[in-house]
Amino acid sequence: MINKTVKNVQEALQDVQDGMTLMLGGFGLCGIPENCINELLRLGVKDLTCISNNAGVDDFGIGLLLQKRQVKKMIASYVGENAEFERQLLSGELEVELNPQGTLAERIRAGGAGIPAFFTPAGYGTEVGEGKESREFNGKMYLMETWLKADFAFVKAWKGDTAGNLIYKGTARNFNPMMATAGKITVAEVEELVPAGELDPNMIHTPGIFVQRIFQGEKYEKRIEQRTVRQA
């Protein structure tokens, strides 16, 4: 089996350049590629176009890239809990393309699956539909949306093997599987890297063909945005 292992995050991201389009997995702070984001901060690459459902919070995740002004454009579905993101958006400092979440997920899947365009009802009749082709099917109106691809896709998985196969845990799966398919170079960081053959072929979420580089992350903070608990 082809071995996709790289030594560390530095080797994995060595050829990331200014101006590139990057995909970053995660929903909120759940399932984000923490080690890759930290390395992007260290590298200081700029004028990035980042595709990610959210942009982290002010002081964690992609929020840190926004603070350091490394991002030229965000393609996302939710600004929500990120004041700096909202500020840069409203002031026009940051170019932002907001997509309905399902449209965003499907555009990324389409990019990986060789489908240049598809029709969805989401956003028809709203700002999102402005300038887009619309069409009626079976009496309902749909917008044509196009695929998204990236120079690099950074995904985070729970377990991975040296062949690049990935298994995600819980709702940390979210956008990671589609993004893994849509990067020219897909970098997977995992909590546990095992030899090829240890994972059950029936239970692989992302087949190794989509992953060009894989490494075990040094540490994971896994910050929680809304720690909600009930009494035992």
Binding site: P100, Q101, G170, R173, N174, A232
Partner: protein, 218 residues
Amino acid sequence: MALDKNQIAKRIAQEVKNGMYVNLGIGIPTLVANYIPHGIEVVLQSENGLLGMGPFPTEDQVDADLINAGKQTITTLPGSSIFSSADSFGMIRGEHVDLTILGAMEVSEEGDIANWKIPGKMVKGMGGAMDLVASAKNIIVAMQHTARDGSSKLLKECTLPITGLKCVKKIVTDLCVMEVTDKGFKLLERAPGVSVEDIQKATEGTLIVEGDIPEVQL
């Protein structure tokens, strides 16, 4: 007396029928889960990739890798399943979810909804709301009837950028329960002690009042 958030949620919970798959939005809709009557089996869908969402975890159950669409830590119930965002919205777009409950800033008498942006002031982003409202078989909105300045949020036409066209079926506000019909908002129930006149004054869109309007029963 106007309904509080929990009462709005409790009233909406009465709309949830046995065997439904339900998506709950952030805010008041999330509270609906607390009031689903015993004996009613429903499955909660969280659009970040989970079917079978359970209650919040106890302190020792907290798992950073298990959150809902509001980024809150949650648990799973026996029989739950986890999937990607693409599969989750395939489920939503493909009309497999029976009921969607969400919040709104404005609703028009035709059932248009606005809940993602105030130009120049606030942009939350649409998140999954546009996908949900474009494909849900049944949409119930939980909202305040008026803004803080007393202006109506139930309008002839939305003034804010809309999230979806002609999609809202029912609305539960602090003042009343309404159905969206071809002819406007049809008043179904009043909050206890709130008069039809109070509701009429707080509603800019066409309000249809037919016969006696009963009070909400909680």
